[in-house]
């Protein structure tokens, strides 16, 4: 099949009215065949039956690590939002001074606090 013909077939395969089975078969005939390499089946069986439970533990570990990461991130964001709300409620603004707890302080009192004069 020539390339312009294949391009046309790809576009037509996405028509709602097209027959997906027929078009996928034609695309396969054109040479679009993806297979795993030789020995794929043996590799899968070897991994499962030789490694036993360690494989499943590894998969579970990675999956859990991913979900833990998201949970920590979400908790962190929630904590920051709560902190900002409480700062706003206590200090009445979200300025930099409010973050440092200096919202209600006068410059003179800070100088007094730092120097004692």
């Amino acid at each position: 099949m020539k390339i312009p013909e294949l391009k046309d077939l790809i576009i037509r395969s996405l028509d709602k009215e097209s027959d997906p089975e027929k078009t996928s078969a034609r695309i396969e005939e054109a040479g679009v065949i993806w297979k795993f390499s030789e020995g794929f089946q043996d590799k899968v069986l070897e991994t499962i039956f030789s490694a036993g439970d360690s494989v499943v533990r590894k998969i579970e570990f990675v999956r859990n690590l991913n979900s833990v990461f998201y949970r920590i991130a979400i908790t962190g964001v929630a904590a920051i939002v709560l902190l900002m709300i409480s700062i706003f409620v206590i200090q009445g603004s979200l300025s930099f001074d409010s973050f440092l707890g200096l919202g209600d302080s006068y410059d003179e009192s800070i100088v007094y606090l730092l120097t004692g004069n």
Partner: protein
């Protein structure tokens, strides 16, 4: 002879035997569905060594979740769902990785090794389809791969992806528009 007897077994028989620890039965399942998984994984990730790893993960996950398979749906649907989920996770992982560590698109990672194709024309065809799929938005890519490479109907695709039929239809139509633009440039 033994292998022949497994070939004649039904899906449910093979699942039951695999759960009882029959290695040959699970080997038959891998043999029956590996090409289907290859089409999904390689269609969505490109034809590279990384796809082989995901393909292996699909069958490893299948093996350890066989007890959850109740036989209400076809085994192929169950495997296909695992393949889609793992592939989409990999796409997300790569997207995060490349947006963090590289300014280059991840398409540069794919090699096109279409060793089994007999002629140059066929190789060219496989490369064209692979490049076009890789250029599609992953949200559309999965729908296109299901339809174009696996021959699933819109209804089957919706069931497989747990999406409403209307969503699949609208994504299909948008995917077609995006595909037209991509193919014009290739």
């Amino acid at each position: 002879m033994i292998r022949e007897s497994y070939r004649q077994k039904s899906e449910n028989e093979l699942v039951k035997a695999s759960l009882d620890g029959d290695k040959q039965a699970f080997s038959e399942i891998v043999s029956r569905y590996q090409n289907m998984v290859a089409r999904t994984v390689k269609g969505m990730l490109g034809d590279s060594v990384f796809s082989e790893d995901i393909g292996q993960d699909v069958f490893i996950k299948l093996y350890y979740s066989l007890s959850d398979f109740r036989g209400e749906a076809k085994l192929s649907t169950y495997i296909q769902k695992i393949a889609i989920n793992l592939t989409l996770n990999e796409i997300k992982r790569r997207k995060r990785f490349f947006s963090t560590f590289s300014q280059k698109g991840n398409s540069e990672m794919y090699e096109f090794e279409v060793a089994d194709n007999e002629t140059e024309g066929k190789k060219e065809a496989a490369e064209l389809v692979s490049k076009a799929l890789m250029s599609l938005n992953p949200k559309f890519r999965v729908i296109v791969a299901m339809r174009m490479l696996q021959g699933y109907s819109t209804k089957e695709t919706a069931e497989m992806l747990d999406l409403p039929l209307g969503t699949v239809l609208s994504r299909l139509s948008r995917a077609q528009e995006q595909m037209k633009n991509i193919l014009r440039k290739l």
